[in-house]
């Protein structure tokens, strides 16, 4: 609570007042409004930028992933196509170079198979099929010489198109393999033959398994019906139907986002290998590919949160500072305005008092002179001089006139000093003059006034009118705070550093601690119901500031209050007592 109180700005507990200006002086509302507007102006662009940046990064990462998958797929297709084509071309070269007659020789065919195995690898057997579909020469681990292929699709396709590459299948060998077939013509007879070779899938599979695919990336081959031709990590067993939908034919490599049967999203690159039944598939889990985005998102979130925190902190501090400054400016302005108003009012009262005093002074002077003359006449004629009763009556008239004269002269003096700006002042005289106005009230209320002002206090230069007002306000305030029979103490000292320190203390009701901070604020009053304006101490505070002084208050409930004022003591050279012609 004490920390909150320490950081609570001055304007926080201010009443916004009443009337049409209520909204103007609602500082908390201004503060909230300033924070709201600044926060919206500062944070909205930041959030929009963060959102755009996140989306751009996401799109960029997606594009990069698609491109990478497409490139991997395309390269794999090229390798697979090259693998099959070089072996198919090798068969054609053999037939054209050696001729069918030479190849039909068993020993030669054995050499050729050995040569193919050693130079290319993957060849399991080799055979020659005549136009009738019968195998007329064969070298390999199985007994296939004389076997009839005329009913098989491969034979028909090879005969009509010139070459044939089969799907991977098990056949009676019960091992995955594929067949390459090439139509060749005998140079001598012109008869057509098929040169047929079987490849095992080991090298074929190695091409795909050796690909460096991060995480659970999977590269494999399916045929046009979607039957898996090489081992797949996640998408099905060999020679079974793949679990993802195969897109339609395209000569180009394509990448698509495809949803798997288990609901997982895959980024799938696919490429049809031309002149073969094969489709190369490279499938990666989209979630894995987008993992870097998670890191970026977290970093972005941290930066965003830190920025928002710093921005809000700065906004709150700046708004508090600015509203406090507005509050202080308003307070100073209100104090100044009311001080001017007060000064004007005092000047009016002064003029009125001077007018009244003047009007009374002339008849008083006449009474004075006439009474004086009567006394003189009696005094000069000895027969009345001994009449004590007559003389005492005349003296009484003259004394009463003198008393009235003192009152009017004091009024005139006070009124005249309201207009004075700078004057030489004896603080003793000023205090006595001010207290003189309240002397009668003090007597009626049995309030004792104790003045402790040393004679050694030097004469100084200051604004007499303002000092009078300060002093009168403080004494008036003390009178209001005290009950009948109270004690008022007035003291003055020359303090260190050439300053005048004077204090007005009372043993009145005291000021609650909660109000102490605000008693100098304009319009703050605990006596509003009793007609207090809340301007007395505010104006006094303003006047003290104008004279370059400071004002402090000490108070305790039930014990009393002491106001202490410290102001510069501009000592005048003249040390003798000031002769006041009005007094």
């Amino acid at each position: 609570m004490s920390i909150i109180r320490k950081f609570k700005p001055q304007f926080w507990d201010t009443d916004s007042g009443v009337g049409p200006a209520k909204r103007l002086f609602n500082y908390r509302r201004i503060w909230r409004f300033a924070i709201g507007v600044l926060a919206v102006v500062a944070l909205v662009p930041l959030l929009v930028m963060a959102f755009i940046d996140y989306n751009v990064t996401r799109h960029s990462l997606e594009s990069e992933n698609l491109l990478l998958t497409a490139r991997t797929t395309s390269n794999t297709r090229r390798t697979v196509a090259s693998f099959l084509e070089e072996r198919s071309k090798a068969l054609q070269f053999l037939a054209e170079h050696q001729g069918i007659a030479s190849l039909r020789d068993c020993d030669n065919l054995a050499k050729v198979l050995e040569s193919l195995k050693s130079s290319f690898g993957g060849f399991v057997d080799i055979g020659i099929i005549n136009e009738a579909g019968r195998q007329i020469a064969y070298l390999g681990p199985y007994d296939l010489l004389g076997r009839d292929y005329s009913g098989q699709d491969g034979f028909e396709i090879a005969m009509s198109k010139g070459s044939y590459i089969s799907d991977v299948f098990l056949g009676f060998r019960d091992e995955p393999h594929l067949v390459l077939a090439r139509r060749v013509k005998d140079a001598k007879t012109g008869a057509a033959y098929i040169l047929r070779a079987t490849l095992d899938t080991e090298q074929f599979t190695t091409i795909l398994t050796s690909l460096d695919l991060a995480g659970s990336g999977d590269a494999f081959i399916v045929n046009r019906e979607g039957i898996i031709q090489t081992p797949s990590k996640k998408h099905g067993e060999m020679l079974t139907k793949v679990d993802i939908v195969i897109p339609g034919f395209s000569e180009k490599t394509n990448v698509q986002q495809i949803s798997g049967k288990d609901g997982t999203n895959y980024t799938v690159g696919y490429a049809y290998v031309l002149d073969t039944p094969f489709i190369v598939l490279v499938a990666k889990e989209t979630k894995e590919l987008m993992l870097p985005l998670q890191t970026i998102r977290m970093e972005l979130l941290w930066i965003l949160c830190t920025s928002i925190f710093i921005i809000l902190l700065v906004i709150v501090l700046v708004a508090t500072y600015m509203v406090n400054k507005i509050y202080e400016a308003d307070q100073t302005r209100a104090r100044t305005l009311h001080q001017i108003e007060h000064t004007n009012r005092m000047a009016s009262i002064g003029r009125l008092a001077a007018g009244v005093a003047h009007e009374i002074n002339n008849p008083l002077a006449i009474i004075n002179e006439k009474a004086g003359l009567v006394k003189d006449l009696f005094m000069f004629k000895q027969e009345y001089a001994a009449d004590d009763r007559l003389m005492s009556n005349i003296d009484s008239i003259i004394n009463s006139v003198t008393r009235c004269g003192k009152i009017t002269k004091r009024l005139l003096s006070f009124a005249r000093h309201i207009e004075v700006e700078v004057d030489d002042i004896r603080f003793q005289d000023l205090a006595t003059e001010v207290v003189g106005f309240l002397q009668k009230e003090a007597e009626y209320r049995s309030i004792s006034i104790q003045m402790d002002i040393p004679d050694s206090l030097p004469q100084f230069t200051s604004d007499r009118g303002k000092l009078q007002q300060i002093f009168l306000n403080l004494v008036n305030n003390a009178f209001q705070a005290m009950s009948d029979g109270g004690h008022l103490s007035i003291s003055a000292r020359e303090s260190a550093g050439g300053k005048l320190m004077f204090a007005v203390g009372d043993d009145g009701c005291g000021i609650p601690e909660a109000d102490i901070k605000r008693i100098f604020d304009p319009f703050f009053s605990t006596k509003k119901k009793k007609g207090g304006t809340g301007l007395g101490l505010s104006i006094t505070y303003g006047l003290v500031q104008e004279l370059g002084g400071t004002m402090a208050v000490e108070s305790e409930i039930g014990v009393g209050t002491t106001f202490t004022i410290v102001m510069p003591l501009n000592i005048t050279k003249k040390a003798d007592n000031h002769e006041n012609p009005a007094g």
């Binding site: 002077a365 002179e369 003359l373 005139l412 005249r416």
Partner: protein, 118 residues
Amino acid sequence: MKILLVDDEVELVSAMAERLSLRGLDVDWTDSGVKALQMAQGCVYDVAVLDMKMPKLSGLELRRLISEKCPDMKFIFLSGHGSEADFKAGCKEAASYLIKPVSLEDLMAQIQECGCKG
């Protein structure tokens, strides 16, 4: 020492003149500034006691007009008002400035002082 008393209040100025006369001073008085100017033509007065505010011719104006012809004459101002302007002007232009009602002893002391200086 010859003294001129000027105040628009006849009752005041006449009584004051009589009292001073009783104390042995040679006093002339008038309730008009214009008349006072005529009376002072011959520079026969040592001290003039003037009211600050009078109809037609104020005390200040009267003082200036008399001083032009009689530079050695001393002046004492009387005022019932005591405004700041009056106070400053009175203090500046006269030997003394007194506010009504004034005790005759004070007035006589000021007159004596003026006479001594003169």
